[in-house]
């Protein structure tokens, strides 16, 4: 067999096996459910594309373009977190060690993983294409089905964005710093930069001005290309159109929108070149990622602390311990435990959980946490509440994100869950430890609000201190992973507290944006949800 043929066959089987492994997990159903929900939200008008006072007639071209935009906007964020586990899974299942012993190159592996990630994201796009078709039939504003205008935005705009997202997920899994939970936080900002990046100001250009060629090329998501061309189409029918263009979620207020007929994207050379560039980047990125890929070499695993001996030395360590302690020991050397030894104060268990949470952090992590904690005390109160606290409560994100999923992640469930009173002692102790982290890092603001007799501010601070660990615990228990909290908390933190957005500002960073009662209730509900999840997980509760 020719080497090229063989490589193609290996690639096919790697992607196929990886894809089947993923789609046969319940989490994939959640993924598809999300894609279906996005489609439904577009149908129900919860997600809407507006061009000032206009929207397109629901024909094939408009629905295809809207779905393409929605996919590019949301699936590039959510999809990343969904697929950023393909290398980790090979490591967890130990399949990676088997693959590492084959002649497969590192570049081939990272390319195959990108292709597998892409297959998952593409399946979500397929669902959205079906949703677009269904929407056109249900809306019945224009029943004529035109396949190219319907599918081309999904195939040629959204899919290249998915390909790049798939490649980014592999890149993040291979580069040491990005592989950890920190990578999940960093990706949100990378995504934001990609989305509102170099071309977005094009949408504010002068009326009737064509979209510049460079804006097409730099347009990762296709938003600038699509909305830019839509703006020109509206100008064609309404010279007074103010150039407004937006994709909004949940805002169904306002007068009914006027309609215009959108005939689909004009495939200019710049637009085609842009999509090719992103597809090419999706191939280039895994090749760069292969330079960082550890090829399942335990000695190169990220996260192994300097205090830990490398795995290769473990056997040496073992034989060393054998040599030194050669004298036989017996069970007779164990002193019996007195009856009174059973039963410890609850705070000791909280301390043990807190120590477990904070163990393994580097000195500089503590230094920054301490600096932020001190700054909460000494910065002017408004600045502390509206600035330092926001930083102080994003810093321990990786400490909180391990809550609820630590036992699953490290396979210690059978050890912990077979102990007595897990649900009534260990579980609340873990939650209390999470609250303590919030108090230790942002306690200065709470104390100053107390001394300033700002009851509302203090209530908001307290609600946040309870809400954050409750959310972490609930997501950790139900997903068995730290990723969901890392992704959701980062997005929420950015949209809410960082922008002091009323309703979303769970930290209550300004008096105007704080809603303590809502988040106190949410904290209790989330805690109950987490408790139920843990109860379900325990065979006997």
């Amino acid at each position: 067999m020719k080497p090229g043929m063989n490589s193609a066959r290996v690639l096919y089987h790697m992607v196929r096996a990886d894809f089947l492994e993923r789609v046969r997990r319940y989490s994939f159903l959640v993924t598809l459910a999300f894609a279906i929900y996005i489609g439904y939200a577009a149908y129900a008008g919860t997600i809407i594309v507006r061009l000032g006072d206009y929207r397109g007639v629901y024909n094939s071209a408009w629905l295809g373009s809207v779905m393409g935009l929605v996919a590019s906007m949301f699936l590039t964020l959510v999809g990343f977190y969904i697929v950023k586990n393909s290398i980790q899974r090979d490591q967890d299942t130990r399949v990676g060690s088997v693959l590492a012993a084959t002649p497969m190159t590192k570049a081939f592996y990272t390319l195959a993983k990108t292709a597998s990630n892409f297959a998952v994201l593409a399946s979500m796009i397929a669902v959205m294409a079906g949703a677009a078709l269904l929407m056109q039939l249900l809306r019945a504003e224009d029943p004529r089905i035109h396949l190219w205008p319907l599918l081309s935005p999904l195939l040629c705009v959204a899919l290249p964005a998915m390909a790049f997202t798939a490649a980014l997920a592999v890149f993040f899994e291979t580069v040491p710093v990005l592989r950890s939970g920190m990578g999940n936080v960093i990706y949100f900002f990378v995504w934001t930069a990609l989305l509102i990046g170099p071309g977005t100001q094009t949408l504010d250009r002068k009326k009737n001005e064509p979209v510049p060629a460079m804006a097409y090329v730099a347009d990762f998501s296709g938003i600038v290309s699509t909305l830019g061309q839509m703006q020109l189409a509206v100008h064609g029918i309404d010279p007074d159109y103010s150039n407004g263009a937006s994709l909004t979620i949940g805002d169904t207020q306002g007068p009914p929108l006027k309609r215009f007929v959108w005939s689909g994207l004009e495939w200019t050379p710049a637009l085609i070149l842009g999509r090719i560039v992103w597809c090419a980047s999706a191939i280039l990125l895994p090749l760069i990622a292969s330079l960082f890929f550890h090829r399942f070499d335990p000695a190169r695993e990220w996260g192994r602390q300097k205090s830990q001996a490398p795995a290769i030395a473990a056997s040496e360590m073992e034989s060393h311990s054998e040599r030194i302690t050669a004298a036989p020991v017996s069970a007779a050397s164990l002193s019996p435990l007195p009856q009174a030894s059973h039963g410890i104060p609850f705070f000791r268990l909280v301390a043990a959980e807190l120590r477990l949470m904070l163990k393994g952090k580097r000195w500089w992590w503590y230094l920054v946490a301490a600096g932020l904690s001190v700054a909460c005390f000494f910065t002017p109160l408004d600045a502390a509440r509206g600035g330092v606290l926001i930083a102080a409560w994003i810093w321990p994100i990786l400490v909180w994100s391990a809550m609820g999923s630590r036992e699953a992640r490290h396979s210690t469930e059978s050890l912990i869950f077979s102990s007595a009173h897990t649900l009534s002692r260990q579980f609340p102790a873990a939650w209390c430890a999470g609250v303590l982290v919030a108090i230790l890092t942002g306690g200065g603001v709470g104390l100053r609000l107390l001394s300033a007799s700002d009851g509302h501010g203090l209530a908001a601070w307290l609600a946040a201190a309870l809400f954050i660990p409750s959310m972490a615990l609930a997501l950790g228990v139900w997903t068995g992973s730290s990723k969901a909290f890392e992704a959701i908390y980062t997005v929420w933190w950015y949209l809410g507290p960082a922008h002091h957005t009323p309703g979303l500002d769970f930290m209550g960073t300004t008096p105007a944006s704080s809603t303590p009662a809502t988040y106190a209730i949410a904290a209790m509900l989330l805690l109950a949800v987490a408790w139920l999840g843990r109860r379900t997980r325990l065979g006997y509760a």
Binding site: G303, R304, Q305, S307, Q308, A309, P310, A311, A313, A314, S315, M317, E318, H320, S321, E322, I324, T325, P328, V329, S330, A331, A332, S333, L334, S335, P336, L337, P338, A340, S341, H342, G343, I344, R348, L349, A352, R355, L356, K359, G360, R406, H410, S411, T412, E413, S414, L415, I416, F417, S418, S419, A420, H421, T422, R425, Q426, G539, Y540, A541
Partner: protein, 293 residues
């Protein structure tokens, strides 16, 4: 001290039954739970360790139903699962201190106990090293130590010698024998020699059902007069395998020495003293032929 398993069955989802109508009463001593891979041993261990709930039947500890009051057992349970993990950033001492707190042991008692246990499992020298750098065998020894933390009355160990070197394996077998005096020890394994060395009672499990529960002596009696040494040309070995249950073969200059388990021996075969492995294979083959009839 009594553990009663009454008609316990376990079904995963809508799939096959992993365990069917399993009944057993246990008193202090070492019970060797023997069975082939996939027999249902780990499922039974998980039920007894209160990790998963039986679909049917009940388990009682000193009369208390585990389904209603699992903590009655958990406070006196030591469990070494077949697969378990550790927190890689913690040292052996820190990990055991954490589990001691979870198990509700006070600080002074647990500190002394941890020192003794680390000495017992031969990890004193590396007690302050992070567990992430431990080998598989060393992690297994940490697992053994944590199972003994609370001086359990019921000790459940599932495939405990997996990953241990021969010396550690012997040490662990001896430890189990010593521990068995005033507690119930359940040793689940498919390695007959582990059971042979330690068990006071043996339960054979196959296809989710209890094949037999007997003392090692009673089990050996079942196969008494049914084990033979048969010397045959190597060319005839495959045909012999079709006809007889052969537990072992050794090639010698005069031909293949086959260890045959059969009610009546092949022509010219000499009787042998049976081992527990012979008894195990005999009972399993009887059970399989019974269940296929």
């Amino acid at each position: 001290m009594q553990l009663s398993i009454e008609n316990v069955s376990k079904r995963y989802g809508r799939g096959n039954w992993a365990l069917r109508n399993f009944t057993l009463d246990l008193k202090p001593g070492v019970l060797g739970l023997l069975g082939p891979n996939g027999a249902g041993k780990t499922t039974l261990m998980s039920i007894l360790a209160t990790i998963t709930r039986a679909t049917e039947g009940r388990v009682t500890w000193n009369g208390a139903d585990l389904a209603k009051n699992p903590d009655a057992l958990r406070s006196t349970l030591g469990y070494l699962p077949q697969d378990f993990g550790v927190y890689p950033n913690l040292s052996a001492v820190e990990f055991l201190e954490y589990l001691a707190a979870v198990k509700g042991l006070d600080a002074a008692s647990s500190r002394r106990r941890i020192d003794e246990l680390l000495n017992l499992v031969n990890l004193t020298d590396v007690r302050k090293r992070a567990l992430g750098g431990y080998s598989g065998g060393m992690k297994q020894r940490i697992g053994i130590a944590q199972a003994l933390l609370n001086d359990p009355q019921l000790l459940i160990v599932d495939e405990p010698t997996a990953g241990l070197d021969p010396e550690e394996r012997v040490r662990f077998r001896n430890l189990l024998s010593e521990l068995s005096g005033e507690r119930i020890v359940i040793l689940s394994t498919h390695i007959v020699s582990d059971v042979e060395a330690t068990a006071t009672d043996i339960a054979l499990i196959s296809q989710g059902t209890l094949v037999t529960h007997a003392s090692p002596e009673a089990l050996l009696q079942k196969v008494e007069g049914r084990v033979w040494e048969w010397i045959l040309p190597s060319a005839e070995l495959n045909a012999a395998r079709q006809q007889y249950l052969i537990s072992n073969t050794a090639r010698r200059s005069d031909g293949v020495h086959a260890r045959v388990i059969a009610d009546s021996g092949p022509p010219n075969a000499q009787p042998l003293t049976p081992t527990l492995e012979d008894a195990y294979l005999y009972c399993l083959s009887q059970h399989r032929s019974g269940s296929t009839k």
